[in-house]
Subunit: 272 residues, 2 copies
DNA sequence: CGAAAAGTTGATTGTCTTCAAAACTGGTGG
DNA sequence: CCACCAGTTTTGAAGACAATCAACTTTTCG
C-alpha cells in the first residue's frame, strides 16, 4: 500500500473508499456538532454515517444489527476532560463518534508521550485488554462523543459472530501497524520530515471522512504535537514557519492549509 | 505495574512468575539447542517448556490440547534468513521456539527501522492480520525454530475455544502496549536512557526464561540496536563505553554483564 | 477587560551525527 | 591448524540539528 511508506499514523481506515462522503457534506471546518444533526438521538451502527470507518466496517447487515447489542449509550466528553486514565480498570472499548482525542502514556517521573490522535470512527482503549487496566489516558481535545462498547459483551458476541472476531483482530493489527509507522518516524526522520508525514497522514484521514484534504484545523497544541513527534514545541513551531516560508503550507494559528501537496510528499519520500 | 515505567519493550510475558524456571536450568549462555534436548521431536503445547510464556499461557489443560490442532510443523530459520518479508502474503502467526529474531519495516526510499526483537515464547506476524499481507519482515539473528500457527485455523478454533480468543486479544494488546513503551523511549529519552531501558528490558525477559538477569549475549549488531533505539551505531557503541567507564556494565563485544542494576534503573527513572 | 494559555522568534548550548581510521572477531579455505 | 578477510566495533574530531532559555505577541476565556 503506497500510503504506508510515509504515514506516521498509518491509515486507520484501510478499506475506506476515498470517495466516501458523509451526509450532509462537510464544508471543511464544521464543528463537532455538525456531525450529528439529531443531537441526542441514539443512532444504530447500521444507520451510522461512520459505519464504513468504524467497527462495523465489512460486516453484513445482519451482523451489524447484532453489534448494536454491544454498543451502549453514548458518552459525552468535554474538551480537556479524560475519557479514561492510566491505571483505571478496563471495561470497554470506545469508538469516537464525534470530536478529537489524544492518547498519552505517562511515567512515574512525569515524562509524557502522546501516542496518537483519534478522530471519528477510530477505536480507543485497546491497550487495556492486556491486563484489564488502561495503560494510557485519553483526553478530548474538543467536545466529543464516543460509543461505549463493553468488552466482555464484545467477546461474547465475537464468539457467535465470527465476522466481529475478524474485525476486532483487524482493528488491533491496524493499530500495531500504525505504531510501526510512528516508530519509523521517531527513529529515522528529521523534524521537517516528521511534521510533513504527520500532515499528510492527517490530511488523508480528514479526506476519508469527507472533509477537505488540504485545509483543516489542528485540534492539538504545538506541545501535544511535539510530544507525538518527539520534538519540542518550539521546533514544531519553527518547522511550520519554515514550511510556510517555502510556500508549502499556510499556517495561521491552528488553521492549516496545504498549498503544495506534491512538495509535502516529496519531503517524506526522499532520504534526509 | 512497576516495570512498565522504563520498559521500552514492555514485558512480553506479563503473567510469567519471576520464579519460572525452565528445565533443565540454564547456565546463562546456553546456545539455542539446549532449549530442546530432543532435537527434532515435535513437542505439544501442553508439554512445551515455554507454555507459560507463549500462546497457551493461561489456558486450561483441555484447551491447550486443542491448540495443538493449529500448531503446524516447526520451521527452522538459519541465522540471517528471513522468516517472512514485507509484502508477503500473510497466512500464519509464528511463535519463537528457540533462537532470536528482529522485525523491521522498510520504506521504498531505503529507510529501515527495527521494530522489535523477539525471543522464545514471543509471537510474530500480528501486523499481517490487517490486510492479509505482512507489513514488516522478520530475520533470524541466530539459528532459530518457530511454531507455525495457521491463522485461519486459529480463528476457527478461537470461535470454539473462547479462552483462545481471549488470549489472542491479550497478545495483540500486549504488543500495542509494548509499542507505546518504544514510542515513549524514542520520543523523550536521551541516548543513555534509551540504552539503559533496553538493557533492563532485555535482562527482565532473559530472566523470565530462566537465564541470568545480569549476564547475557547481545544477539544483534550495534546497527540493529541503533535502529531500534533511534540512534546511530557509533552512538550505541559510545554509550556502552560510557556505561562501562561508569562501572555500571561490563561490555565485551556482544557479551554483556550488568554490574550495577540499581544505577541502571536510576538512569531511566529520573528526568533527562 | 485582563489574565492565562498558546504560539512565535532569536541566541546559545548540547547532544547526536557524520566522516574517518584503526582494532577486533569469527568464519573460511588453504 | 593457522592465516586471512569481511564484517563488526571502537574511538576521535568536526559539524549539524534540535533543545534550551528567554522575550515577546496573539488568542482565548472567565
Amino acid at each position: 500500500m503506497q500510503t504506508q511508506e510515509y504515514d506516521p499514523q498509518l491509515c486507520a481506515v484501510a478499506n475506506a473508499r476515498p470517495a466516501l462522503r458523509l451526509s450532509p457534506a462537510m464544508p471543511g471546518f464544521a464543528p463537532a456538532q455538525t456531525w450529528e444533526p439529531q443531537p441526542d438521538a441514539q443512532v444504530a451502527c447500521s444507520n451510522c454515517n461512520l459505519r464504513e470507518l468504524c467497527v462495523p466496517a465489512g460486516l453484513s447487515r445482519a451482523d451489524m444489527d447484532r453489534i448494536d447489542e454491544v454498543v451502549g449509550p453514548r458518552r459525552k466528553v468535554l474538551r480537556g476532560r479524560e475519557l479514561f486514565h492510566t491505571g483505571e480498570r478496563f471495561t470497554a472499548l470506545y469508538a469516537v463518534r464525534s470530536g478529537f482525542f489524544k492518547t498519552c502514556v505517562t511515567t512515574a517521573d512525569g515524562r509524557d508521550q502522546v501516542t496518537g490522535f483519534q478522530m471519528a470512527g477510530e477505536v480507543m482503549g485497546l491497550d487495556g485488554i492486556m491486563d484489564t487496566q488502561h495503560s494510557c489516558s485519553a483526553v478530548a481535545l474538543e467536545d466529543a462523543e464516543v460509543c461505549v462498547m463493553q468488552y466482555d459483551r464484545m467477546q461474547e458476541l465475537a464468539h457467535e459472530v465470527s465476522a466481529l472476531q475478524t474485525q476486532m483482530h483487524r482493528i488491533m493489527s491496524r493499530e500495531i501497524v500504525r505504531e510501526h509507522g510512528v516508530m519509523l518516524l521517531l527513529g529515522s526522520m528529521c523534524a521537517q520530515e516528521r511534521v510533513a508525514a504527520f500532515l499528510l497522514n492527517l490530511a488523508q484521514r480528514m479526506h476519508a471522512r469527507g472533509f477537505s484534504r488540504t485545509e483543516f484545523i489542528l485540534r492539538m497544541t504545538r506541545a501535544d504535537l511535539g510530544s507525538y513527534l518527539g520534538l519540542k514545541l518550539e521546533t514544531v513551531s519553527r518547522t511550520f514557519s519554515k514550511l510556510q516560508d517555502e510556500g508549502i503550507v499556510d499556517v495561521r494559528w491552528r488553521h492549516l492549509r496545504i498549498l503544495d501537496m506534491a512538495a509535502l510528499e516529496g519531503l517524506v519520500g526522499r532520504q534526509a
